[in-house]
């Protein structure tokens, strides 16, 4: 093989090749090619994003673990802590939707329980293309079945999610999965730092096969016409094995049998072993021939790069090895010592007695390239001063509203979430039908989980979209009385080597960061997924976010629906900005927005909202989102089949930054409106709950028609999937 063929095969650039020969002081040999290829891939090294990620607001007094470990950890007090993280599995899901999505769930769960936390909740952020796009029905079906097949079997409830559709995802769908795990009082936090010279390096879990070889470098490339040929790079998941791995790993950690542990995720054994050694400042010897294999003819390179699922690497003291192996055997899993921790900081790889290589793990992990990809300073796309709702005139009547509610982008996503087990664990208080998912903790407090990032706002302006990816979900939490504590993210972008992509990346990250700082909710874990593009077409920049919030009590959590005839509907204003929103995009009108709120004043109002909601008497609440008041009021009619009469000047389609609709009993209405007004949130009475129609301006629509449009939107666009 010539050098240029080799560089192509291992996806290493000329300049990176020069760096490698420089670091090694010689040419790379044998398996070293595979090692550098995997660990220097965008997926593993974050080489295009690291310089920007370092600047993130990532600490607060509650944060026990931020970036640098498998997941972030937040202290909830009362002896409870949570670990959580979100991760993408976009590329594999597009190639092979069922397995791609399933192993996305499996991977994120391992990031959580590898730290010692028991997984208690899952959430999914999905972006698909138009229903008529090539393979889209099959992709939607496969992804949903994959998440359902894996998540349901491992027994972790899926409590919230978001699904978006847009043509920019026609050739690159996004599948982001978030997992949350709980530590109760005596659960230890386990880290991945290898230590203790003479300790065993133990391989645990499923046997190693050829699946997923070169997966990490595949995920670091754009697609072309031949994406199909990449199918063997997708891993195959076994949720039953994962369930056994969860129980056995939590058991050995609780019994103090583990010194360090890391899951074998992207780049498999290579990344876990090199990263564990590098973090601990120690070396390892590994005997690759001891690795349990599905196929004995696998080469050392296959073994190093395999991304077979449901595997862990751990470090264990010699006198505890026997007990450790017993626990795993009881659960029917392999646990084999494949090496030792050594003092000299080198990773020595042996195969059948032959030394294949010895490399200082720092060279591979720490010295990975970091690029300062070119980008421009962000300038706002719209001249906000020209925004006027006058220029934004879209008719509002029965037909227009039915049109929108029966659009697949707006209508019910129940077809998706009813395939997920939302209640295993017996702690779900709010499921996927609610804007905020919630589980009750053993301390009887409530943990809220919500996902953010509205792609149509991202398409308006990446900086604004970044702000909104935090503020909007944080307000959803606040409107139910949850204090937002911390954030995880999944930054899905196109090719970072393109200046416009990098510009949007930097702009949206800076928006997110400013919002997080204002709310004092740090970003403590996440991942970056670049190269979401096919034939030069990139996706909408999509920095999806996952926020967790805490509420002291189960009581006083508003519902999201109209509940009682005669209740008063209040509109609470937290800011004065507006966007012409999703409707202007769908109708091909000029997109406009205005956002001039001070972040600290917004954050202050969020706090007051939390305290007002928690003090009780708010019956239901919903944040006004896409398609404005018309959509949110329609949705509030659905569950209990109650209508409302509305009297409000605001354009029904305008999307505010930010407003919340709340309902309260008529006797409490004046008092509560006054309290909100006094808390600097302008609050108006806009109507009354009741009747079986929604009446507003020219609109007089039976709730039954609203329901029918909303429910049938799915089967209209996905006829094969209903």
């Amino acid at each position: 093989m010539t050098l240029s063929e080799k560089l192509k095969l291992y996806r290493i650039s000329q300049s990176e090749y020069a760096m490698i020969t420089d670091l090694l002081d010689r040419e790379p040999q044998g398996v070293e090619w595979a090692i550098f290829s995997a660990l220097w891939s965008e997926h593993c090294s974050y080489k295009s994003s690291k310089v920007h990620l370092k600047k993130l607001y990532s600490q607060s007094p509650r944060v026990l673990q931020s970036f640098g470990e498998n997941a972030g950890i937040v202290d909830l007090g009362e002896g409870e802590k949570v670990a959580f993280k979100m991760e993408s599995h976009n590329h594999p899901s597009f190639i092979e939707p069922y397995q791609g999505a399933a192993t996305g769930v499996g991977g994120i769960l391992r990031d959580i329980f590898t730290m010692g936390a028991r997984p208690i909740a899952l959430a999914n952020y999905l972006c698909f293309g138009e229903p008529t796009a090539d393979r889209m029905q099959e992709l939607v079906d496969g992804v949903v079945r994959g998440i359902s097949g894996y998540g349901n079997c491992v027994g972790v409830p899926n409590i919230t999610g978001q699904t978006n559709f847009d043509k920019s995802y026609n050739g690159n769908i996004l599948v982001n999965a978030m997992a949350v795990g709980l530590f109760t009082k005596d659960d230890p936090i386990c880290l991945s730092k290898a230590k203790g010279v003479g300790n065993h390096v133990v391989y645990v879990g499923a046997k190693t096969g050829r699946d997923g070889v070169h997966g990490a470098s595949m995920a670091s490339e754009s697609f072309d016409e031949n994406s199909e040929s990449k199918r063997p790079t997708v891993q195959i998941g076994d949720p039953f094995f994962e369930k056994l791995l969860i129980e056995s790993c939590l058991e050995v950690m609780k019994k103090d049998l583990v010194v360090a542990i890391q899951d074998m995720g992207a780049a498999g054994l290579t990344s876990s072993s090199f990263e564990m050694a590098e973090k601990g400042g120690v070396g390892l010897t590994l005997r690759l021939d001891q690795v349990p294999l599905r196929d004995p003819s696998m080469t050392p390179e296959d073994i190093l790069l395999s991304e077979s699922q449901e595997r862990m690497l751990l470090v264990c003291e010699p006198e505890k090895l026997e007990t450790l192996v017993e626990v795993f055997e009881r659960w029917g899993l392999d646990a084999v010592s494949i090496g030792e921790v050594i003092k000299e900081p080198v990773v020595k790889l042996y195969f059948k007695g032959e030394l294949l290589t010895e490399i200082d793990p720092k060279l591979v992990v720490d010295h990975a390239p970091q690029y300062k990809r070119p980008y421009r300073e962000w300038s706002l796309k719209n001249d906000s001063s020209q925004f006027s709702s006058e220029s934004f005139k879209t008719p509002f009547n029965n037909k227009e509203l039915i049109d929108i509610l029966s659009d697949y982008r707006v209508g019910s996503k129940e077809w998706i979430y009813r395939q997920y087990d939302q209640r295993v664990g017996s702690s779900t208080m709010r499921d996927c039908s609610s804007p905020v998912g919630a589980v009750v903790l053993p301390s009887n407090r409530v943990l809220g989980v919500v996902l953010g990032c509205r792609p149509h706002i991202m398409r308006q302006d990446a900086y604004l979209g970044g702000l909104d990816s935090i503020f909007y979900p944080a307000l959803e939490l606040a409107s139910k009385g949850f204090e937002p504590l911390a954030v995880t993210d999944c930054l899905n972008f196109g090719n970072p080597e393109k200046e416009e992509v990098m510009t949007e990346f930097v702009a949206s990250l800076s928006g997110m960061n400013s919002a997080c700082e204002a709310l004092q909710a740090p970003i403590i874990s996440g991942n970056v997924s670049f190269y979401n593009e096919t034939l030069d077409q990139g996706v909408t920049p999509t920095p999806s976010t996952g926020l967790i919030g805490l509420k002291e009590k189960v009581e006083n959590t508003p519902t999201s629906d109209f509940e009682n005839e005669g209740d008063v509907i209040l509109l609470v204003n937290l800011g004065s900005g507006f966007s012409s929103g999703y409707l202007s995009e769908i109708r091909g009108q000029q997109s406009q927005y205005i956002f001039n709120e001070s972040f600290s004043s917004l954050a202050e109002k969020f706090k007051k909202m939390i305290s007002l909601v928690s003090s009780g008497n708010i019956i239901s609440s919903r944040v006004v989102g896409s398609f404005g008041l018309s959509n949110v009021l329609s949705k509030m009619c659905l569950k209990n089949s109650i209508g409302a009469k509305i009297d409000c000047e605001q354009d029904p389609w305008l999307e505010p930054f930010y407003q919340v609709v709340i309902t309260v009993s008529s006797i409490e209405a004046d008092r509560l409106a006054k309290e909100f007004n006094q808390a600097d949130m302008k609050t108006l009475k806009i109507g009354e709950v009741g009747g079986d129609t929604l009446r507003w301006k020219n609109l007089n629509l039976p709730v039954s028609s609203i329901k029918e449009s909303y429910v049938h939107s799915w089967s209209k666009s996905f006829p094969q999937l209903s």
Binding site: N152, V154, R418, Q419, S426
Partner: protein, 216 residues
């Protein structure tokens, strides 16, 4: 305090939920591991929780039905102990022949998680007791379509073995059946999850009554 043995198979995932449910009713739960035999006399009742035993890769519950703990459970049945299977636990009891019929893939071929209303048709040896009482609780399964041949259906109907029926059949079960019992009425199985309807904040606390065993 009554002692309740909870069977755990590889892939059981509602075991901790059952533990919680049993404790809520002031009973003493203990784990029973699928590979170990147990002495029925050490307990007052047994529960088989939901989950995906052996991944449900073969027919749901088929492999679990062959494990050593199930041999002890048969012995418990012969002695007339109360035995309660929920979801995968129900599937295992059917596969083990402790309950009649079989659970097949839902009519629409997919996993379904939704709230259902159940009506109590006949009384088992233990609670709940009010015939025609309606209970609201979640179901969550892919293989919950109860099937039984015509002549056997007639038999369980005549014997009063139909325990619970769906008010709105969600999965295509024969006779809307959501739960059944054996002839002696000591073994019961149901697909929906009373263990997920324990408090108002869950959406319903109708499930509590199913753990409130009226044991002599």
């Amino acid at each position: 305090m009554k002692k309740v043995g909870i069977l755990r198979f590889p892939g059981t995932n509602c075991d901790r939920d059952i533990w919680k449910s049993v404790e809520l009713k002031n009973q003493k739960p203990s784990w029973l591991w699928y590979q170990d035999h147990f002495n029925p006399k050490d307990f007052d009742a047994f529960v088989l929780p939901g989950g995906f035993s052996y991944g449900d890769y073969l027919r749901s519950g088929a492999l679990a039905a062959l494990s050593p703990a199930m041999e002890s459970l048969r012995e418990a049945n012969q002695k007339g102990f109360p035995i309660f299977g929920i979801c995968n636990g129900f599937q295992i009891l059917c596969e083990a022949g402790l309950l009649p019929g079989v659970l097949m893939r839902n009519k629409e071929g997919r996993f379904i998680d939704q709230w259902v209303d159940l009506k109590l048709r006949n009384q088992s040896l233990w609670s709940p007791v009010k015939i025609n009482q309606v209970f609201r609780m979640p179901m969550a399964h892919a293989d919950g379509r109860f099937y039984i041949q015509d002549q056997d259906y007639k038999k369980i109907q005549d014997n009063g073995q139909i325990w619970l029926t769906y008010e709105n059949n969600p999965n295509g079960s024969v006779g809307d059946i959501a739960g059944i019992m054996n002839e002696k009425r000591n073994v019961v199985g149901m697909m929906p999850h009373p263990d997920r309807a324990l408090f108002d904040w869950m959406g319903s606390d109708d499930g509590l009554e199913f753990f409130d065993w009226n044991l002599s």
